[in-house]
């Protein structure tokens, strides 16, 4: 009788152990019917302008890793002729309740010259993210999401690509390399394909949006997010321009912290 009890206790422990180990896995569940384009779609195009003084590019100090080569200037604010690059624009709300097909082609995030290329990218849930190390040094890729599962994996010099997926929509996920503290990328995960990143001329295009009214958001890593309402009519392109003011820096939220304690 005692033996049986012990067996039960043992099984319980094992179950708890397995429960802990499996508890953090998550699965993506599609909601609603699969969305199909009807042919009435239009595109949203726009240009991101930049006003105010353009911050001088700072020279990054990469001296702690001699294998980091190439141009080493901070590239978070890239402005050319008053147009801002690397702004992520996406449809925030207004889409029909439908599941969007998961693309099978992958999105590449390269590590080159101890920088992430591209610095800002969008990806759909379940779409493979292919991470490549083109450097001769070691990196680690450490996205710090709030909704998705966090991971942190090193990618050594000469190591092949890492393929990862994100299961839940989340804008934005900062990505860092702890070894090269200046390395920074942002990944936006969306359940739909209606997003774009502004190019060197500040232009973007969101393709194939069904007719309707939407809220779209433009996000920049230093200047925060701006939203706009747009209306897409049948087979017509809509326009949405944004302007970021360089004199208003983005302030992160306040920190709830208790005072640090000094111990002898």
């Amino acid at each position: 009788m005692f033996s049986r009890r012990t067996i039960a206790a043992f099984l319980f422990t094992v179950t708890v152990a397995l429960g802990v180990s499996c508890g953090k896995q998550e699965t993506a569940t599609p909601a609603g019917p699969v969305w199909k384009p009807s042919g009435n779609e239009g595109n949203v195009t726009g240009v991101i302008s930049f006003t105010g003084a353009v911050p001088a590019p700072s020279k990054l100090d990469m001296s702690n890793d001699s294998k980091c080569e190439g141009e080493n200037f901070l590239d978070d604010v890239v402005v050319k002729d008053g147009k801002l690059q690397n702004v992520f624009v996406y449809v925030k709300s207004g889409l029909p309740q439908a599941a969007f097909e998961t693309p099978t082609n992958d999105v590449t995030l390269d590590q080159k010259g101890c920088k992430y290329v591209p610095r800002v990218l969008g990806i759909q849930t379940g779409q493979p993210l292919r991470i490549v190390n083109s450097d001769t040094t070691n990196h680690n890729i450490h996205p710090v999401p709030k909704v998705n599962r966090e991971w942190n994996e090193s990618q050594l010099a000469g190591q092949g690509p890492i393929i990862r997926k994100f299961s839940k929509p989340e804008v934005m996920i900062p990505v860092k390399c702890n070894q090269h503290s200046w390395m920074m990328a942002h990944i936006a995960v969306l359940s739909h394909p209606f997003f774009a990143v502004s190019d060197a001329s500040g232009a973007f295009t969101i393709k194939g949006l069904p007719p309707g009214e939407y809220e779209i958001e433009a996000w920049h890593e230093r200047y925060g997010a701006k939203t706009a309402k747009i209306k897409v009519a049948e087979k017509t392109d809509a326009k949405a321009d944004f302007t970021f003011d360089g004199s208003v820096a983005y302030q992160p939220g306040s920190l709830k912290a208790q005072p640090a304690m000094m111990i002898p």
């Binding site: 700072s58 001296s63 702690n64 890793d65 070691n138 702890n178 070894q179 503290s181 640090a260």
Partner: protein
């Protein structure tokens, strides 16, 4: 007597062919030689100067190296004596047919004397060792020492200089911005408050630049986990603990570039957490300060 023999018969019904084992002489000789050889080779390897810390560039390291030599000598003598004795008894006291061991149960006096000697030697070592430590760590940095702050994070070192005003500006964890680690960056990786006038002239660099032959007072801090400021050439090691500010001080005596390592496990790239200690002549140091300050 007969009862004993009877019991023996009862308790060991089968013959015991395994004791005494064969070849006691060979085994005893081999083992004794092995023990002696091991001891000599080990002591020799410890004494051989092929593997040593990088040459010292700190004012205090002569003291440490001296204490290390004394300690090595003491433990070397103890080690060799113990192994000499072990080899000797193994060589000498092997089993022989028909002979019995000495029935000695111990000798309290010998034991007391030996324990006393050991205690005296050990405590003497402890006390001399304390003197070295006390001179290094129980006093403040001399006035006029160069103030530098070292802030560790996974897996990078940041160093901050107070600038001409001699005062560090305010920092805030909310302002940390690793993405821009250029020298003039505000807030930069240390989260310097751009509105604090004291911080305007602070210099933050990933390399520890220090003038030669001047005492340097270093405050160790950490942003995330425990790190350890370890400079082999300085014979110096101290944890950087988050939530604490730990002050150490040293004087580097020779110009040059020395490696700073992390000696406390801090994550997957612990083994790559390197920075440099750049010891410059006082003039070069002043020039460097001028060049990098006030941008």
């Amino acid at each position: 007597m007969k009862i004993c023999e009877l019991k023996l018969v009862i308790h060991s019904p089968l013959p015991t062919p395994h004791s005494p084992p064969p070849l006691p002489t060979l085994m005893s000789r081999l083992l004794a030689i092995a023990i002696w050889l091991t001891a000599i080779v080990t002591a020799g390897l410890f004494a051989w100067s092929k593997w040593r810390l990088p040459e010292s560039v700190a004012a205090h390291s002569a003291m440490i190296d001296h204490q290390f030599k004394i300690t090595l000598a003491v433990i070397g003598v103890g080690f060799l004596l113990a192994h000499a004795a072990l080899g000797y008894v193994v060589w000498r006291y092997r089993a022989k047919d028909g002979e019995r061991a000495s029935p000695s149960q111990g000798n309290a006096r010998v034991e007391f004397i030996l324990a006393g000697c050991v205690a005296v030697v050990f405590i003497a070592l402890a006390i001399t060792g304390q003197r070295v430590w006390a001179r290094l760590r129980l006093n403040q940095a001399p006035p006029g020492a160069v103030q530098i702050e070292a802030v560790a994070q996974q897996f990078v070192w940041n160093f901050r200089y107070p600038g001409p005003d001699g005062k560090f500006g305010r920092t805030d964890p909310r302002l940390y911005r690793d993405a821009d680690n250029s020298i003039g960056a505000r807030p930069g990786p240390l989260g310097l408050d751009p509105n604090d006038p004291l911080g305007k002239d602070d210099i933050v660099t990933p390399t520890l630049v220090a003038p030669a032959n001047r005492p340097i007072s270093l405050s160790l801090l950490s942003k995330d986990v425990i790190h350890d400021f370890y400079v082999p050439a300085l014979r110096m090691k101290q944890d950087a603990v988050p939530g604490m500010k730990i002050n150490i001080h040293f004087t580097a005596t020779r110009e040059g570039r020395y490696e700073i390592a992390c000696a406390e496990l801090c994550g997957q790239f612990h083994h790559q957490m390197r920075a440099y200690l750049d010891v410059k002549s006082p003039r070069d140091y002043e020039e460097w300060l001028k060049k990098n300050g006030k941008q």
